[in-house]
């Protein structure tokens, strides 16, 4: 897998979340992601960016344009040094929330992307990686 381009977006405020969404939208357009997939990856990014700010106490998003076997995609890595998630399995359940949310951010985002990896431990921060591939259509 090659990284064609990379960019770091700090995430500390509500404003940063909006900016992260805009950047993901712009890069998604660049690889000509369809409107539905664009909306999915932007929405997933919005969820993870907000978790980073709200639950993780701030961090950053690493945005990468990747390519592999002639397909292109976006890889988004969200990282924070916050409290971490004690039980990932529980946190990934639909409806689980500690902050009065809908509890659908993590589980929903996972369904919106092609690849989803979460690494977290209590006291060690959280890292979530999302990948959305552009489907190659053969004609």
């Amino acid at each position: 897998m090659d990284v064609l381009r990379a960019r770091e977006v700090p995430l500390t405020s509500e404003y940063d979340i909006a900016r992260a969404r805009q950047m993901v939208r712009a890069w998604a357009l660049e690889i000509s992601l369809g409107l539905v997939d664009q909306t999915k990856i932007v929405t997933a990014a919005s969820e993870l960016a907000r978790n980073t700010v709200v639950h993780g106490g701030g961090g950053a998003m690493f945005l990468e344009l990747i390519s592999s076997e002639q397909r292109k995609g976006l890889r988004l890595t969200f990282k924070d040094n916050g409290p971490g998630i004690p039980d990932i399995q529980v946190a990934m359940e639909d409806g689980y929330t500690t902050g009065g949310g809908l509890g659908l951010g993590l589980s929903g985002a996972k369904r919106l992307v092609n690849e989803f990896v979460i690494k977290s431990a209590e006291g060690e921060g959280t890292e979530v990686i999302l990948i959305k591939w552009k489907l190659v259509t053969h004609d």
Binding site: T39, T43, E47, G101, L102, G105, G108, R111
Partner: protein, 291 residues
């Protein structure tokens, strides 16, 4: 060591004409293409402002003045620079172009002082350095003011937009519509939905259409706000209809797991309006033209 500020001030006053010519020349040399092309540079205006600045500058240079523009002695200078930066910002100058005005005084002043220093070496050696450091302070101050000014404008526009973006409109007796547009951050969503509830109370409406055609992303936070608004409206006796959910947002919401259960949704605003009229018992018919 006692500084000879009076001497520097006297020199500036004595050679003001020469200083202004050199300053203008330096300023023109540093003119950006942009300014030349836009015809923004105005010689008369420059001369007036340069001469005003020199007057206030020499006034500040007293025998025992502290060369720190944050002190009381430089209040007049600070006011003048603030005004000047507002003026430049209003006329469309960039921050750099604004700062250059002050910084280009450095070279001519340095030239003048190093020439005059021959006659008064003992008094002036120290001052030359300090005066150029003072000009740096002035340049930084005017830049700071310029940016502050821009920030104030942006903050004001943001506030105005927040207000503008809450247009709850009465479509019919008892029917309100709230068209949501753009990015819904938590602050904006809260303000928008609060104003909907207020309007429901004020008009006694029993149907509220929330149209999200102009919204590009519905994430869990926005969805939660919408659901809360629907619940609150219901407590006030009004039913909500959510319209304008685009196909891509519908698909995304399904995967996200967000469900607008027991809220009626319509593809577009006009369908929602028709539904609202029907519920209100209003029948719309085309007039039959009789020939």
């Amino acid at each position: 060591m006692k500084r000879q500020k009076n001497l520097v001030a006297t020199m500036i006053i004595e050679h003001e004409g020469e200083l202004l010519i050199d300053w203008l020349e330096e300023r023109s040399r540093r003119n950006t293409n942009l300014m030349f092309n836009s015809g923004l540079f105005n010689k008369e205006e420059f001369e007036r402002q340069a001469s005003d600045l020199l007057k206030i500058f020499t006034k500040g240079l007293k025998e025992d003045t502290v060369l720190d523009i944050a002190t009381d002695e430089w209040a007049e200078m600070r006011d003048y620079l603030s005004e000047l930066s507002n003026d430049k910002a209003a006329k469309g100058y960039s921050a750099t172009e604004t700062a250059i005005f002050v910084f280009t005084l450095k070279k001519p002043l340095f030239k003048l002082l190093s020439r005059e220093i021959q006659a008064h070496p003992e008094q002036l050696t120290n001052d030359v350095w300090e005066i150029t450091a003072l000009i740096d302070q002035l340049g930084l101050y005017i830049t700071e003011r310029f940016i502050k000014n821009r920030e104030e404008i942006i903050a004001r526009q943001q506030d105005e937009m927040l207000e503008l973006s809450t247009p709850v409109v009465k479509l019919w007796e008892g029917i309100l519509v709230l068209p949501l547009i753009g990015t819904l951050d938590s602050t904006r969503t809260q303000i928008v939905l609060e104003s909907l509830l207020e309007k429901i109370a004020a008009t006694g409406s029993n149907i509220a259409i929330i149209d999200i055609t102009g919204v590009s992303v519905i994430d869990t936070l926005v969805a939660q706000y919408l659901l809360k608004a629907v619940t609150a409206a219901r407590l006030m006796g009004a039913e909500c209809i959510i319209s304008g959910i685009s196909p891509q947002i519908a698909q995304t919401m399904v995967q996200l797991g967000v469900r607008f259960t027991d809220v009626s949704t319509k593809a577009n605003l006009s369908d929602a309006f028709a539904e609202a009229l029907k519920r209100s018992g209003v029948v719309v018919t085309k007039r039959q033209e009789s020939f």
